[in-house]
Amino acid sequence: MGMLGVVVIAMFVLLALLRVPVWVALLAPALWYSFVEGQPVIFPATNMMRSLDSFTFLAIPLFIYVGSLMNHGDITEKIFDFADSLVGHYDGGLAQVNIVTSLIFAGISGSALADIGGVGRVLIKSMTDADYDADFSAALTSASATVGPIFPPSIPLIIFGIIAEVSVLSLLLAGALPALLTVAALMLGTVYVAKTQDLPSNDKRASVRDIGRTFLVALPALLTPVVLVSGMLAGVFSPTEAAGVTVFYILLVNTFVYRIVDFGYIWKAAVETTKTSGSIVIILAAASVFSFVLSVENIDTMFAQTLFTISENKLVLLLLVNLVLLFIGLFLDPIAALVMMTPIVAPTLVEAGVDPVHVGVIMVFNLMLGLLTPPLGLSVYLSADIADVPVARVFSRTKVYYVILIAALLVITYVPQITMYVPRTF
């Protein structure tokens, strides 16, 4: 027990760093192990096919479709106009708009990179048009997109739920308050940044009438998370069905409210979605073969024992796990990190008495932070690319927000009530 498992993990890390596609980097070592173990060649095929043949999995392409459909309409601009009338006049006006818009968008989409690629594009452009530094705009957009996969819906939380066999419904609900807390922290931080760096703001406060007008226009979009969450709470639909219902809702809103009648975008977004979701679900299928090895080799027990020799105190363990995850997030793509670390980390924390739902939120938050740091900070790469500024300058402007997000992470880690309130109450 153990040794071969460690070899398999090492092979995965090596292959992944050598730019072998993540799904192959997971699969190839597991296949090698399977041969050594004398498994029949049917085994990996069955394992991959059956892991895809899962109800919860269906939520992934459907939620990705939601994000993709949003980016094809002009809902994004409507959300932006509303956020602008609401908070545009505060210190750092457009910066605050950026954060609020990201939050609203987070209620519709489930992936940080999709948020940046969609609403982020609009935000960065508006900010640079209003004389904000392009590197600051890109940094803030990356930071505020972190909230996307914490606030429901969330692709990473669904993935965690699938791997750890935890209720996806509870996980999605659990993300709501931590996301709001994080948004509040980011907004406060931005007030500070605005004071010290003299950011521009809107000249005058929008009239109540303007707020009302932009609100009405944005309302159908704003209602999406409300429909989604209340539908799940009321049990009208499960998270997987919620994804389908959200797609349906957006199609209705686009057609009947926003009058988008050129239906070509529906097909274009569908094709786009198969590519994005295909690249994710094939990783999950390969991870299923990989985690078979971890199970048989008892890697989770080894990890738990190692951590427990350092301390058995829950609070210390949480800190250690956060450090491990932040470190792994530096180098690995969040989905790769999630599929590798969930089967190892989750049982350890659950054994130490942490609620599995809380574990999920902590893990996803950690790995989202990895999107903001070198060497592999995909969010920063993407927004730097959109803003057309050097990555290094964006990284340096991200620092202050990184500190704020770490503080939020610690609060969320050590005050479990914030995470557990919604899933426990409803």
Binding site: Q39, N47, R50, G235, S238
Partner: protein, 322 residues
């Protein structure tokens, strides 16, 4: 199995969907204790629980292909590979007064000729061998009831219940009278809470461990199915064992049967008082029109499974009369 078995020890990997503390979760471990002792350690069983080595259909496919050595699962699920294996789960098949002993007798792969025939066919069709069965617990109906609980199929027809997506299970539930719908097991508590369904059917231990009881106020002891849990094994792996080792495995299943019965019965009282303490009303068979349920179930099975009814009649021993 395989390379690291060395030193004359064969280690068999067994999977189960259930948790520790239930017959379903522990049967493979119990069998392992016996087999290890009897073979002087030349055969060991590594028991995995909670679907750690794969989901239900996946694990059955894995036993069939030899990717997994053993699995503990109701016969009805092996029906996805070979439909006639569902005969052992027919509703109201076993003696209601002495169900567990009756199950052991009728499913015995060595003494029951009919069981032998079904299992031989299962082996030749799917490479899956059954070593025998332990008992899982009796399936009962749970409901949310507003006024009076239903006592016969006609009254139950006013309820919508979740059906297990396996033909024998869902036909049995339809026969009991309920409107049925298929929803994923993970969604049952939520669907009950919101009233999109009013009931489901399962053994006590699952009603309790899954939290379904939190959203139900009645348990009807319809006792419609006494599900045997088959201990299944890949045929290739089985044939690699010596004849005496094979015999030890058969004996082992027989050996753990009393322990299964005992565990089930001792857990049962605890489950019932737990349910009562939490405000659920249990309606015993005496207060139900059992004849009506039984005859509805048997006639529906007769009409829905014409290919299997001959075997079911033989198993029943008395023609499985409606």
């Amino acid at each position: 199995m395989g390379l690291f078995g060395g030193g004359g020890t064969t280690t068999l990997r067994a999977n189960s969907p259930a948790a520790e503390g239930s017959v379903h979760g522990d049967a493979a471990a119990w069998l392992g204790e016996y087999v290890s002792e009897e073979t002087g350690g030349s055969i060991e069983i590594d028991a995995y629980r909670n679907s750690e080595l794969g989901g239900q259909i996946e694990s059955i496919e894995n036993v069939s292909s030899g990717s997994l050595d053993m699995y503990v699962i109701p016969y009805a699920l092996t029906g996805t590979q070979y439909q006639p294996a569902q005969v052992f789960d027919a509703p109201y098949l076993y003696d209601p007064d002495n169900p567990y002993e009756d199950i052991y007798e009728k499913t015995d792969p060595q003494d029951s000729e009919i069981a032998q025939q079904v299992i031989d066919d299962l082996v030749s069709e799917t490479d899956i061998r059954s070593l025998g069965a332990v008992v899982q617990g009796t399936r009962r109906v749970t409901l949310n009831v507003n006024n009076e609980p239903p006592r016969n199929p006609e009254e139950l027809s006013e309820y919508t219940m979740r059906a297990v997506p396996i033909a024998m299970y869902s036909e049995a539930l339809k026969a009991l009278g309920a409107q049925t719908t298929n929803i994923d097991f993970s969604e049952v508590p939520q669907a009950l809470a919101t009233g999109s369904i009013q009931g489901q059917e399962n053994p006590y231990n699952i009603i309790r461990s899954s939290g379904i009881w939190e959203n139900q106020n009645y348990i009807l002891e319809t006792n419609h199915m006494h599900s045997p849990l088959a201990v299944i094994m890949n045929e290739g792996v089985f044939q690699d064992l010596s004849e005496s080792e094979q015999q030890v495995l058969y004996d082992g299943v027989r050996e753990i049967q009393p322990r299964a019965t005992e565990t089930l019965e001792s857990n049962l009282e605890g489950h019932k008082s737990f349910m009562r303490d939490n405000g659920l009303t249990i309606v015993p068979p005496e207060d139900l029109e059992m004849d009506a349920f039984r005859s509805a179930a048997r006639s529906r099975i007769r009409s829905q499974f014409p290919d299997l009814i001959g075997t079911i009649e033989q198993l029943h021993g008395d023609g499985y009369p409606a």
